[in-house]
């Protein structure tokens, strides 16, 4: 993995400030850059006060669902006599998303600090960082950071001399997409097959080892430190559009775009300017056709929708999609949408845990039909069947993997029906790279 690009002038680098700065990976370097001051401050505060600051800041979950973080932390009732747990979801398995990878590669201590702050706020003594198995480099740096932090007494029996015990364990996953789903992650962490659990009970009631658990994304936890240092108002002010979405957000940009990479912009930034200015626009001679803005499981946007979008939780919804994890996949006019969607469907069929009927059978069935259409063997009835299977796969299963498979297919057929029909009717669309499936 190489070095990140030099930040664009319109980026607001709060979390990504030290990307590429190798010294920031070490404890000494991190401290030199103001690291662990927030934790020191947090350990001097009452847990409820920390939760209130986070609540006031308007920080919302960066993993995809956008649930208010302060409220999530406040579900953990102190003094219930049970051990509390913090889970950090570093599985980052959503296709097109690689922001947490960069965060952990360059600023591992920021995550250790974020975990420790959150653990203190929710009354947990143990934090688990569940890292995706393929992330060998982030895993190495996280291991180093945890070791250093233990050795320096920052975490452990007596975290920073506060008398509080905070343990951080780094757990390596085995590479299943579904283990990024919070309850499947807990099953996997406990040593079982990573199958999502039925909710309720929610993790705040019964999570890891049946105990109250809070689970947060890497980016969410890392954001806690600057909020504590600079105050809720500072964070709240980083907002260009809807006041319900505050702060900065990291986007992983990939696909047919001139400057792919990880970018950090303020909530409410114009998606048009983001794509054309910050990320450099389409490659020479090409035009954008579609954008998947939040990882493979969110609805596909047409380029018109994307250009009208303001980049925050509400803005993406208003333009027919979702912010999701911030994994922006850009598709230009040289691609076949059918090929792209068939490949996405194949991914979900491969990653379905197979518990629920609709998901187990539906993802595989969808893939088979999509690939048949891609290969020019489809019929017009197939499109209705796909839409109907999509309907059956939506909102009926334990977790949302099934919905995630249906979403790109249904939105793709609705927004790019012409391409499907052209393939079906033999007016075959010849994409430049269609053979790469």
């Amino acid at each position: 993995m190489g070095y990140p690009h030099y930040p664009h002038e319109r980026e607001s680098t709060v979390l990504s400030r030290y990307f590429g700065d190798a010294e920031a990976r070490t404890l000494a370097g991190w401290k030199k850059r103001g690291g662990y001051k927030a934790l020191d401050k947090a350990l001097g505060m009452a847990p409820a006060d920390i939760v209130n600051v986070i609540k006031d800041s308007g920080l919302r979950g960066r993993g995809g669902a956008g649930f208010p973080t302060g409220m999530k932390w406040s579900f953990m009732k102190p003094g219930d006599g049970k051990p509390h747990y913090l889970c950090c979801n570093a599985d980052e398995s959503e296709p097109g998303t690689f922001k947490d990878r960069e965060l952990m590669r360059w600023t591992p201590h920021a995550l250790v600090e974020g975990c420790a702050i959150a653990a203190h706020a929710i009354g947990a003594e143990t934090a688990y960082v569940y890292i995706r198995g393929e992330f060998t480099e982030p895993l190495y740096w996280m291991d180093q950071a945890v070791k250093e932090a233990y050795a320096a007494g920052i975490i452990g029996k007596n975290a920073m001399g506060s008398g509080k015990r905070i343990d951080v364990h780094v757990h390596k996953g085995a590479g299943a997409y579904i283990c990024g789903e919070e309850t499947a992650l807990m099953e996997s962490l406990e040593g079982r097959r990573g199958n999502p659990r039925i909710k309720p009970p929610f993790p705040a009631v019964s999570g890891v080892f049946g105990m109250p658990t809070t689970i947060n994304n890497v980016e969410t936890l890392i954001a806690a430190a600057p909020i504590l240092m600079n105050g809720a108002d500072w964070y709240k002010k980083m907002c260009l559009s809807n006041p319900k979405s505050t702060g900065t957000k990291l986007y992983s940009v990939c696909g047919n775009i001139l400057r792919p990479g990880t970018y950090e912009v303020v909530m409410g930034f114009s998606f048009r300017e983001f794509l054309y200015d910050v990320c450099g626009g389409p490659m020479h001679g090409r035009k954008f056709k579609a954008v998947i803005p939040g990882g493979a499981s969110v609805p596909i946007q047409t380029v018109e929708e994307a250009e009208a979008t303001l980049m925050d939780y509400e803005g993406f919804v208003a333009q027919g999609s979702m912010l999701g994890s911030g994994g922006v996949i850009v598709i230009d006019d040289a691609q076949s949408m059918v090929t792209v969607i068939a490949r996405i469907a194949r991914f979900f069929a491969h990653e379905s845990c197979g518990q629920c009927t609709q998901c187990r059978e539906g993802t595989a069935w969808t893939t088979k039909i999509m690939e048949r259409i891609r290969d020019g063997q489809g019929t017009i009835e197939d499109l209705d069947t796909l839409l109907d299977i999509g309907e059956q796969m939506t909102g009926k299963t334990i977790c949302v993997l099934s919905d995630s498979c249906a979403v790109p297919v249904v939105s793709g057929i609705k927004k790019f029906r012409g391409e499907f029909e052209a393939l079906i009717q033999g007016r075959r669309f010849h994409p430049v790279v269609a053979a790469v499936a």
Partner: protein, 527 residues
């Protein structure tokens, strides 16, 4: 028991009031509504994976899995609304896309929940045009064969082995549409209760080797009975085809066996179909046994017994009714029985359920009625006694041991070789051919009924013994086993207050039976 809070709700327009914490699916059952389901089973932890039991709950954003949703005050639930029917139709279509549709050669056909619900609510056609998934059948060991192509991955079998048998032998291997039930390496379904997975399987994916290709479900006659193979007294359904017992399956009884029965009991039914039977009454004439009429044989036996000292060697397989009548026959004599023994094999997930060491149905009943349990059956036989052999096969006993008896009367289904010098032989029905009650090791009296017809001139044991007592001038003959039981209940303290009506088909404990303290035996391994 603590006061239970009741919750009232409406299911399909019917008012329901159930204890707090009940699931919608169980609540619906109480008003006679069966919500279609596959993965849910009352004896297993909830999985919530088949998504078949989805119902519409008013004001809820999504359809609710009724097996995993607990009741809430004032809920309005629609089981057959368009939305829920549509969802279930979708599930059925998905379950069938990779199903081989080989009902004509599938053992489960006729008792298959996939057939039933598809017929009830499914589509009449499929829109699936792609090749179907194929996996070869696999021998799971024990009595079980797995046919993965028919499997709907409800995971009932996996949960049974994990949470009830506490012998995790099965798992879900692979994922997505490649998923199938697998065995852990080095494991087989050799647990003594493993064959229950065949009953639990709602489709034809797990099959019994013993029953394989033996009968179609609709050819079977089903009879409520009790497993006679040990003292646990598991409630069973005895299934017969053309008058042959071909299968035994558990019948739910929360006080005895929950939903299960052991493999040994289940597969030990062939003796009921035995061909080597005593079929005609016989009386000894000119030093040889000769076929006689029932009247002649009964009066010959009555003559032999009247005024004599009697020793009864009884079988603990006999019903309470017959054993009671035998005690009347003994007068001042003795009665003894012996029991075959084997290894005890508990089912850990259900309290007080095991394949018991003593392998006979009515050991406790025989003891209650005054028969002596012994290893040496004929030890108490005195010189000159009339020996009555009732149901005993005298296996391992030499004919010379019987010479102490002045006369031998055999009242059995099979004429034991050692008793070939008997003076009278009265052929009786075996366990599967008559009606009666047996008492299990916890003192629970349970009814069993006639599953097959007895061969030849054979008569039920209670009828023969009643007639014999009548011929001896003891008491009037009986016309029904319930009459014998009524006499037993009125004359024996332990059976006081019991009748066939009050027993029903779930049984009741003897007045003297100790309370086992078992209220809810439902197997719940996971909390």
């Amino acid at each position: 028991m603590a006061e239970q809070k009741m919750v009232s709700l409406t299911i399909e327009g019917r008012s329901v009031s159930v204890p707090e914490g009940t699931t919608l699916l169980e609540a619906a059952k109480t008003v006679g509504i069966l919500i279609p389901h596959y993965c849910y089973h009352p004896g297993l932890p909830v999985a919530g994976v088949c998504r078949m039991c989805l119902v519409e709950v008013e004001k809820a954003p999504k359809l609710a899995p009724s097996c995993a949703t607990t009741v809430a005050e004032g809920q309005v639930v629609h089981v057959h609304s368009e939305k829920s029917l549509d969802a279930r139709k979708g599930v059925l279509e998905m379950l069938l896309i990779n199903h081989p549709l080989d009902c004509p050669i599938c053992d489960q056909s006729g008792e298959c929940e996939l057939q039933d619900y598809t017929f009830q609510e499914g589509r009449e056609d499929s829109r699936y045009r792609e090749p179907k998934r194929f996996n070869p059948a696999e021998d799971f060991g024990g009595d079980v064969i797995y046919v993965p192509n028919r499997c709907i991955l409800c995971t009932r079998c996996v949960r049974f082995m994990d949470d009830v048998a506490h012998d995790p032998a099965l798992n879900v291997s692979e994922r997505g549409d490649r998923a199938l039930i697998g065995k852990f390496e080095g494991k087989d379904l050799t647990h003594p209760w493993a064959a229950n997975v065949v009953d639990l399987c709602p489709v034809g994916a797990l099959l019994s080797k013993d029953f394989l290709n033996k009968a179609r479900a609709w050819e079977l006659d089903r009879t409520a009975s009790i497993c006679p193979n040990c003292t646990q007294g598991c409630n069973v359904i005895m299934e017969t085809r053309e008058n042959q017992v071909v299968r035994m399956r558990p019948r739910p009884n929360e006080n005895v066996n929950a939903f299960f029965m052991c493999d040994w009991g289940r597969l030990n039914y062939r003796w009921m179909n035995e061909k080597n039977r005593a079929e005609r009454p016989m009386v000894r004439r000119n030093n040889a046994l000769a076929v006689a009429s029932w009247e002649a044989a009964i009066s010959a036996a009555a003559r032999a017994l009247s005024g004599k000292s009697v020793f009864v060697a009884a079988s603990p397989m006999l019903s309470n009714e017959s054993l009671y009548l035998l005690t009347q026959l003994m007068q001042s004599g003795y009665g003894a029985f012996r029991v075959t023994e084997g290894e005890e094999a508990p089912l850990p997930g259900v309290k007080d359920l095991a394949l018991r060491r003593e392998r006979a149905a009515n050991v406790y009943g025989a003891e209650t009625l005054g028969f002596k349990k012994t290893k040496d059956l004929l030890a108490d036989l005195r010189q000159g006694d009339v020996l009555v052999i009732a149901g005993e096969n005298l296996a391992g006993i030499d004919a010379s041991a019987l010479t102490r008896a002045s006369e031998v009367i055999v009242i059995s289904s099979v004429l034991p070789e050692a008793a070939s010098n008997a003076s009278v032989v009265l052929p009786i029905a075996n366990f599967s051919e008559e009606e009666g009650t047996v008492t299990n090791l916890r003192g629970r009296v349970q009814r069993f009924t006639q599953a097959r017809q007895a061969p030849g001139d054979t008569r039920p044991s209670w009828l023969v013994l009643g007639d014999l007592l009548g011929a001896m001038g003891k008491q009037a003959s009986f016309f029904l086993p319930s009459e014998v039981f009524a006499r037993l209940a009125s004359s024996t303290k332990a059976f006081e207050g019991l009748s066939y009506d009050s027993l029903g088909f779930k049984g009741l404990p003897l007045a003297t039976a100790r309370d086992t303290g078992r209220k809810t035996p439902i197997a719940m391994g996971a909390a």
